[in-house]
Symmetry: C2
Subunit: 567 residues, 2 copies
């Protein structure tokens, strides 16, 4: 089922919904002209359609495997990776000083989404590298920057993130990997890391591991953690890959999906590493990388949703069945129409939220304005959790549209669902995202949240003249959300917030979606009006049940005992 890049949706969202013109009006991003934007969308879309999409099934059928300590990748992945690198897509948001294109994250997000639609398991590799580039840009010494970033931007080397250990998953502070100073400015890294995506491959000449470890004087918990660059091959004096470092891939995991992406257990046995950022300042650097990666994972979810949607739509347009009118294909059935429209509607809403998030990141960078920074920080957990949830839900519905064929692997519908399943888990589970949203991201007294809600209500007020019904529904949803947000902010006991964190995040995404669709209806053609009507009337009402859940707080939840659960 050939993938077709949704270029016109991106263009419409950038032009009319997410405020991309604010970004291109800044000095920093002045180069991102309309022509440039169009060229990027078209070129990246073409690569995804022609080069990457044909690889997707190969990754599932022929997983990466470990061969005498070397990871062998799926057929065609080396070529796919080269195409991504040569297109300049890895470093498109890296600054020009380090060899990147210095383009806005808004555009990188569109490209990342398209690559994820085409071949998620391969896309994870450049995504990890992008995160590492950003962490190095912000925290590494000039020496490390100059040595590593250009090689990663060019795709000659790739980057990985090493956080998790068997006993330390979401609780990174529990990690045990040690870093001992060697006395020459380097460190000796010893420990085991798990869930290392693309820890090795057979198509880049070096692999650069960013590893969290504890120095001898590091205190317990996250405040005693430092970050180290630990390359697979130690660069020689000329910056070329030299001596083999003391690290190895112990094993690869057997996963539910994403078979083309090797997920490794890594062993560091006194491997040579270089400090990145301050001693004991590893978490700050890691958060830079994770925040980038979180928006990246959000785009993965949206990308897979788009792929699964197109796949299901093509099936529904082709599959003849029953006595429905018109073409006689199942798309004429009301329930199939409902499924497809729901898939499309949520994919678009999630995409728009990711782009709003990216615009906020770009504006924060271009203006230094704390208000934009706060908005970017507030939207990141929403993008990540909602984007990945939508990926799972849309791909599940895609299976359903296929009927019996959905359960058969040959169709490819199931692969989307299996592949994307990890997106709700990695880079912080969606539960962690929701807790971050209701705790840390409301520490400003809800200011960032209320600014968003003000904007939505003002937008709805302005739309009432032309779209009274839709505008009224969106305004009311924002007002409902405001009341619950006020209630949340007033809760001092964090468990009162945590108990409803996940439904709150989803309700916020639903209301943001309503705003997105209202703007689309204002600027769009009849087709966009119809989709907006569908979303606002049928999907937006979900928020009331979710908010009811949130308002219950912790009380009856935390009164449920372990014995109750085991009964």
């Amino acid at each position: 089922m050939p993938y077709r890049a949704p270029v016109s949706d991106f263009q419409f969202l950038l032009d009319h919904v997410v405020g991309f013109s604010d970004v291109t009006a800044t000095e920093r991003f002045a180069e991102a002209t309309p022509d440039m934007t169009q060229a990027i969308l078209t070129e990246a879309g073409k690569m995804c359609e022609e080069v990457l999409a044909p690889l997707n099934r190969q990754g599932d059928l022929h997983p990466a495997y470990l061969d005498n300590g070397v990871v062998r990748t799926s057929p065609g992945f080396a070529d796919g990776y080269r195409a991504i690198a040569e297109g300049g897509w890895i470093g498109m948001s890296a600054s020009q000083e380090v060899g990147g294109l210095g383009l806005p994250m808004s555009l990188t997000t569109t490209v990342n989404e398209m690559i994820a639609s085409a071949c998620l398991s391969l896309q994870l590799s450049p995504l990890m590298t992008q995160g590492q580039i950003e962490a190095l840009e912000h925290h590494a010494s000039d020496e490390i920057k100059d040595l590593y970033i250009p090689k990663m931007v060019s795709g000659e080397w790739n980057g990985t993130m090493n956080l998790t250990e068997p006993q330390a998953g979401s609780d990174v502070g529990a990690l045990r990997t040690k870093a001992e100073p060697n006395g020459d400015g380097t460190y000796s890294i010893t420990g085991q890391k798990i869930y290392i995506s693309w820890a090795d491959n057979d198509f880049t000449e070096n692999v650069c591991h960013l590893v969290l470890a504890r120095l001898p004087d590091g205190v317990a918990g996250t405040k005693g953690i430092s970050l180290f660059m630990v390359p697979k091959l130690i660069p020689d004096a000329d910056g070329n890959p030299g001596e083999r470092n003391s690290l190895r891939v112990v094993s690869l995991e057997h996963k539910m999906g994403l078979h083309g992406s090797p997920t490794a257990v890594m062993e560091y046995a006194g491997a040579k590493g270089w400090l990145v950022g301050a001693e004991h300042g590893g978490m700050a650097a890691m958060f830079t990388m994770m925040n980038n990666a979180r928006l990246g994972v959000a785009a993965q979810g949206v990308g897979v949703a788009e792929g699964a949607y197109q796949h299901a739509l093509a099936y529904a347009q082709d599959r003849k069945q029953g006595r429905a009118g018109g073409s006689g294909t199942i798309i004429e059935h009301a329930d199939v129409r409902r499924m497809l429209t729901t898939m499309k509607a949520d994919t678009y809403a999630a995409r728009a939220i990711c782009l709003m998030n990216a615009v906020a990141i770009d504006m924060a960078l271009a203006t230094g304005d704390a208000v934009w920074e706060a908005r970017a920080a507030f939207l990141t957990p929403i993008s990540k959790a909602f984007g990945s949830d939508v990926g799972c839900e849309v791909s599940a519905t895609g299976i359903q549209v296929h009927g019996g064929m959905g359960f058969i692997e040959e169709t490819g519908a199931a692969q989307y669902a299996r592949d994307v399943r990890v997106a709700t888990i990695y880079e912080g589970t969606n539960g962690i995202q929701a807790m971050d949203l209701v705790a840390r991201k409301l520490m400003d007294g809800g200011e960032a949240a209320f600014r968003l809600l003000d904007e939505i209500e003002q937008g709805a007020d302005a739309a009432k003249a032309t779209h009274p019904e839709l505008a009224g529904a969106v305004w009311q949803s924002a007002e409902n959300l405001r009341e619950t947000t006020e209630w949340l902010v007033a809760q001092q006991d964090l468990n009162e917030r945590f108990a409803g964190a996940v439904p709150f995040l989803r309700a916020f995404a639903r209301v943001l979606g309503g705003y997105v669709y209202l703007k689309s209806a204002l600027a769009g053609d009849a087709s966009r009006q119809r989709l907006a009507t569908f979303y606002i009337k049928r999907m937006l009402p979900e928020h009331t049940g979710l908010l009811a859940h949130v308002r219950e707080g912790a009380g009856d939840l935390m009164s449920i005992t372990a014995d109750d659960l085991a009964a």
Copy 2:
């Protein structure tokens, strides 16, 4: 992770919630005494815990495969099947005249659920056989009954359902398989069937295929279809398996899950068959089989939900992480608690709805009362769709509780999700179930629905004295549902109903769940009160958003064009 049969939940539901005492008060089911019920739950539970649960992972790791035309089954499945047969569990609801135990479907449903929890892929085989036994009991000649049913009850032979053809999925009427009279009372069956579960195995001495086919004078569509018994080995004069019939397994499918259950493409090349029921009366017989199977699939969904829940709970009780209070395990975190409680709450609600459905089936059979029959018919699509949806949702949440480990196959969490995925599809997709509910099952003007709603409101009224808050919420939800049901019944254009069929079915299940929990709170201990409060306050409110969707009707949905979707 050892499975523990939820015997006390079954016992409580039968005693206090679903009206099982009405069943045992009938003459037909007088043998189902409390002692007998307890013995059945305990014995079946023991078999599932000790014999079947250890096989589950084997089926996933070592799928059934085709070996020179013979299906080889997963390690241990032959022993598991023998244990099920020897326990008498295959024919427990078959009448005593044909060698069954004549026990209520209410009890069979509990046993089917437990077997599904323990090993879904194996359970599908006896489930298909149960459906066939029931179809034969109602529609076959005495000769066929006497020859086949005792062998199926004993487990010596097994049964399959052959409906689907490549061009005829949900639209059975499009089938092309032909039946030509041989002139000796037998027929010659020719055609290809797909998705045949347990079409062959290496542990029963014969396989009995019930095959839908069209006689030469059969009209197009479902009214021209007849049903045939087509055994793999043709019974000789003594009823022993004799000559090989002209049928074969062409291939087995590669599926997302349920690897232990062989799903075959079957070729019938002039195979000898015997008519079951009237000429051109195949659909009636098939519906008997499908209705039984639909409740069976519902119990599969609940069973997998229970298995996935127990698996996740054990992980959460064991996994130490973070600075949560108490034991230091992740179960102390509010969001993990929310996930587990949601899983448990929905599993219990879906189980209760299945048992309400089974009680209605039993009462219809025991009393011949059309009101019970209508209730059974009304509840069947709700049980099937909600039960299987809950299976998918709970197993997805189970993955989430496991964090990164959920994506790794070794833990088994992913297998639950992959295996149960087909339950929303087979025996009529959940979309088909919902369409059946809002069309055929409302053809009585909504009488069956309104009787249920009356019962809920009366129950809520009676509970207001002791449980004012919970009773009030449940009463209001039933009233909301009543208004929307009235609106649906008034719609003459079926598309107005179909557009919201799926959300309507789910809303109905949500409200039935509220009633189940209210009854549980009235009769149960503090633990059941807490779970009821959680469900009614946090999960029941979902119905309002769903009903809003239903009330939109078809209008804006059917106005969305194929071009809109492809845009």
